[in-house]
């Protein structure tokens, strides 16, 4: 039988959507505001059934657009409620201006996000363009390799957001994780509720005894200070994330950090990746290790705040690194994760690793073992000096060159 990690854990077969909806049921936010239109996912639909069946006491707010969904969640959060929304792709794009308002007002709105390509052309498959576009919006961003992580992450994130007073999103790959049924361990309702705890905001609009103003005009006299504080809050969120991970391990037994290191500590060549493809990379790394090749993987879980100092320290010993981006910035420069990794190591004075940039899996383009092996082959050649590292983005498996 499949053993549970937690003594009271329950082993189930669920899709990513089902298990995230399950986590939200257990968290039981005060307010869920959502607008389930294509390309939304089942998360909201499943949650609305919980509301209809009376299994959660959450106020379910139906709205007329994704922009209104996030607006309602922000308003509820400002009023003092634990507020949640869920979206994907175009929905996140429509929420755009409000993302900055949530973070600027320092409201811990929680979002269950499913990563899907953005239009045009129309595409509903997995890539990270939607959330990567929101990387500078002042939201904590956490990514999942599989349904288990999606479940564990949203539970932790609720606590993190409230402690950091920052909005936060937990993402999983569209279809690949969201629609795939796999084995997941869930925890009893009472234990999840105990872990997340009650939300007791320091200040809130419905606190009539201590009225205050939220969202007022803030020009050249104070705006800069407030934005600086937001940036500092993101830095401070790092230790909160690690503290909550520690509490989570003590409560449920699973270990989390900013990233997962897989056969990494003595690795000479390594891939850095986010999301579901990490699992495919692990299989390749294991095979390469059998052949004596010192391959490794670093899977980023927490992308915002970016773990700059830690990653620079951990990458120092690696000879050649491939940074895999499932989105492209169309910037003339480099995609997001590559830019963050290179800036992190360069600013820390870590100059020895050769760092290559790959863009893969755009719009759901298949990314599998054959391509992963090729990347490691290139890394091997670069590490040994046989090949000069490329200074341009390698677009994997694209038919136009």
């Amino acid at each position: 039988m499949i053993e549970a990690v937690y003594s009271k854990g329950n082993i189930v077969a669920k899709t990513g959507n089902e298990v995230v909806a399950e986590a939200l049921r257990q968290i039981e936010p005060d307010v869920m505001a959502a607008y389930p239109i294509t390309p939304a996912t089942e998360i909201v639909q499943i949650f609305s059934q919980f509301v209809a069946d009376g299994v959660v006491k959450s106020e379910y707010v139906t709205v007329e657009s994704e922009h209104s969904a996030i607006s309602a969640a922000i308003a509820a959060s400002a009023a003092g409620a634990r507020a949640v929304t869920s979206t994907s792709s175009q929905g996140l794009c429509l929420m755009w201006e409000m993302l900055y308002i949530a973070s600027g007002l320092r409201l811990p709105v929680i979002m269950a996000e499913v990563n899907r390509a953005v239009s045009a052309p129309i595409n509903i498959n997995a890539d990270h363009s939607d959330t990567m576009g929101a990387r500078d919006a002042g939201w904590i961003q956490m990514y999942s390799e599989n349904s288990q992580e999606a479940y564990d992450n949203i539970i932790q994130l609720t606590k993190i957001a409230e402690k950091a007073r920052l909005p936060a999103l937990a993402a999983m790959d569209g279809f690949i994780t969201s629609h795939c049924m796999e084995v997941v361990e869930t925890y009893p309702d009472a234990d999840v509720k105990a872990f997340v705890g009650e939300y007791n905001p320091e200040r809130y609009l419905l606190d009539v005894k201590r009225p205050y103003t939220l969202g007022s005009i803030d020009l050249q006299d104070y705006y800069f200070e407030h934005r600086y504080q937001l940036a500092q809050a993101m830095i401070d969120a790092r230790s909160i994330i690690l503290d909550v991970a520690k509490e989570f391990k003590e409560a449920f037994g699973r270990e989390y950090g900013f990233y997962e290191k897989y056969m990494f500590d003595d690795a000479e060549i390594a891939m850095i990746i986010i999301g579901s493809s990490a699992g495919d990379v692990k299989v390749v790394v294991k095979e390469l290790r059998k052949k004596g090749i010192k391959a490794g993987l670093l899977k980023i879980r927490v992308y915002r705040p970016f773990p700059t100092e830690q990653i620079a320290r951990d990458l120092a010993h690696v000879k050649a690194i491939a940074v895999m981006d499932r989105s492209d910035s169309c910037s003339g420069a480099f995609p997001p994760i590559y830019s963050d990794v290179v800036a992190s190591i360069y600013s820390a004075g870590v100059l020895s690793p050769k760092v290559l940039s790959y863009v893969y899996g755009i719009g759901g383009r298949e990314f599998c073992d054959e391509q992963i092996v090729k990347v490691y082959e290139t890394l091997g050649k670069v590490a040994s000096g046989l090949e000069k590292p490329s200074n341009i983005i390698e677009y994997m498996n694209v038919r136009i060159k």
């Binding site: 039988m1 279809f175 699992g279 495919d280």
Partner: protein, 192 residues
């Protein structure tokens, strides 16, 4: 890569239950202690259009999430798909194909241009009509698949499906017995 993982590809038409079959198969196989995955072909679905769904089964945790290219088993719910869809893609010389058909294995092998030993025929539509009064071939085909994989416990599978369907069809208890009978019948018939 390691082949300890059993990979299955289901072919059906939108509305025939290829996705449901893969999900039900995964849930029930998990209940027998195996790690599983079930996922549909990624993309929009249309009634009647060719669709695919997939399963992985393994004794160890499954970390791979890429598509299935070399399935060990192909399950065809609608034999008319053999003309229009490349159902034999990636099966090689050792993959097995289970077809819902009234034709013989040699006739199917000829149509698909494969070795007759790779073909298994089961008249799932007849079984479904007999046991459930409707042409819903997905559950009997699930029984046939369990039989061919060989290492799965049919009684455990039946027991689990019974529990699942009892909840789903709590207002129509007759449906449960029909489904179970169809699985058992296909299990007994296939490969004999």
């Amino acid at each position: 890569m390691s082949k300890k993982v059993i990979e299955v590809r289901w072919h059906g038409r939108g509305g025939q239950g290829a996705k449901t079959a893969a999900l039900l198969f995964a849930e029930t196989v998990m209940a027998t202690g195996m790690y599983v995955q079930a996922f549909p072909e990624y993309g929009p679905e249309r009634m009647g259009a060719p669709v695919q769904s997939f399963n992985r089964v393994s004794e160890d945790p499954i970390t791979v999430h890429s598509g299935i290219r070399n399935p060990n088993y192909v399950v065809i719910l609608d034999s008319s798909l053999m003309k229009s869809v490349p159902v034999t893609d990636g099966i090689g010389k050792s993959g097995k194909i289970i077809v819902n058909t009234s034709l013989s294995t040699s006739e199917i092998a000829k149509k698909l241009d494969t070795d007759v030993n790779q073909i298994y025929a089961v008249n799932a539509s007849r079984i479904a009509l007999k046991t459930m009064g409707k042409d819903i071939p997905n559950t009997p085909m699930l029984g046939a698949l369990v039989k061919l994989i060989g290492t799965l416990d049919i009684n455990g599978v039946l027991e689990n499906i019974k529990t699942k369907l009892k909840v789903k069809f709590r207002h129509k208890p007759g449906v449960v017995e029909g489904n179970l009978a169809s699985i058992k019948m296909a299990f007994d018939e296939v490969g004999n």
